[in-house]
Symmetry: C2
Subunit: 329 residues, 2 copies
Amino acid sequence: MISVSDLGERGVIELIWSIMEKDGHLSGQVLPPSDDASAILLNDGSYLVLKADMFVKMTDAPRGMLPFQMGAKAVAMNVSDLAAKGARPSAFLFSLGLPRNYPQEDLRDLISGISSAAKGYGAQVLGGDVGEARDLIISGFAVGSARNLIKRSGASPGDLVAVTGHFGSTAAAYKILLEGLRAPRSLRRALCRSVYEPRAKPRLGVALAESGAITSSMDSSDGLAFTLNELSKSSRVSFRITNIPISREACEFASIHNISPEDLALYGGEEYELVVTVRRGGWEEAVRAAEGAGGELIRIGEVLPGSKVFLVRGAEEVEIPPKGWEHLK
Amino acid sequence: MISVSDLGERGVIELIWSIMEKDGHLSGQVLPPSDDASAILLNDGSYLVLKADMFVKMTDAPRGMLPFQMGAKAVAMNVSDLAAKGARPSAFLFSLGLPRNYPQEDLRDLISGISSAAKGYGAQVLGGDVGEARDLIISGFAVGSARNLIKRSGASPGDLVAVTGHFGSTAAAYKILLEGLRAPRSLRRALCRSVYEPRAKPRLGVALAESGAITSSMDSSDGLAFTLNELSKSSRVSFRITNIPISREACEFASIHNISPEDLALYGGEEYELVVTVRRGGWEEAVRAAEGAGGELIRIGEVLPGSKVFLVRGAEEVEIPPKGWEHLK
């Protein structure tokens, strides 16, 4: 008997959309199901952007994560996908699956985490449902609006590839939390904060989209390597990557353990940065927009014709494979 | 240590909204959090209506329910709350929590159930997320629009109380499935169908709302007695109930087991009918609207000043207490 663990997360997603396509659910959709979120064109020409993403404690909460942080992460996961589409979050709903013996005190913290994160992102919490479950589950739904909707497809040869931050801290944190690698106290703390308190960047996403300079966008929560591959595949282009921004903490951790900082940056995940392509002539504008929103935009490469993601390392070019985290595998 | 099972579902919901209120999430909300769904006023004067409701197999799937039926029920649960607000369903999103060993064949059926039900209600499936969980979970999110939004509050003395169907079949089915009571094969089948294949009534809900004759509305999924009490409480009025429409099958089952058919009808649940109040002068209009949508409207009582729900039984009047199913208790 074939079970869902044989299919893996991506196999299940494929199965879902093959059935939905057969039943006509895909016709006329603004964004394809493979994109970060879904969108509906409203009468006034703007887009309603919708995202459903589920936080399951068993798989999504690293060891040591506090209930407040879990609530906040459940919001960040959803808001980040809106951000990648250039949508301003306006509302958040959630369904909670609670084990019977879950402590009231933890529940209070968890709800405060949801409330506080939603407020911080400018989203009003509109609804919440509660049921019993063996795992702690926060199933989130984010609603936003976009004047300028940015798809995963849309990159053209000549565009620049850019990201909104430095990578590698979460991968290092997972090496500490899952594999038991050690780090000095303050470094350990800084690294763990990256997985305990991930922050989505909706202001930055909206500013970039509204600058008019962005041609495609995706959030990096599946890992930088995976995201670059998905984004290039969606646009049917190649990415030539010349620079991988690695966080100072990830570099320090890598040097202590003599591991590749580049690998930490490429093959991590749960980092809620945006990976975008920018019209070459719009670079200055995009940077200004990012800075105006309190963020940054780091150029990491360029778009070429083709269907690969490769990294220029000195004189050689190596392919970056689409490795990343997958549920159910 | 106090756990969520001490609080119960309604205690948890209260905790959620006390925190959300403190953080300002309730200010300016079109519908209070106690209503069936949430709403946002759009620029064109219509309402976007949103609902998140979670199906957990462990508590929401009666014994013998097929995966296809689970998928369809997860959609019905959400659509029914939209229907009660007079909203036409337009989109459906979901997050699936899947046990690793869940069979692919069952998954295919479950997804087909979601797809087919959404299509039947006129909602396009826009998104689906997948994660690993110990329980099978379908966390649904329905989006609809309403020209005429019907709240739970809004009933006035003089209005009529009405429902869109007959009650009691699901309570009888649970007596068969949970308590082992027996019934002749064809009766058993008909009763079980009521819990295996619940149907929401969005066309009816929209038609009633747009008739302009409805003053308040709520779906009956928490049980008729509980729903009548909630609806009357929301409007700060009394309901004087003179007639409880009981399904033929529930009557037959009750007579076999010598139990009260009225109790089956009042204290069941998972019945996706609408309980509404109607302006007395609008009764004919409301009935026409219901029939035009292929449904029916059954008058069961009237609205009086006060704060109780009571049943006229011959010469005496008995109070109907707000008993009903509650998760986590």
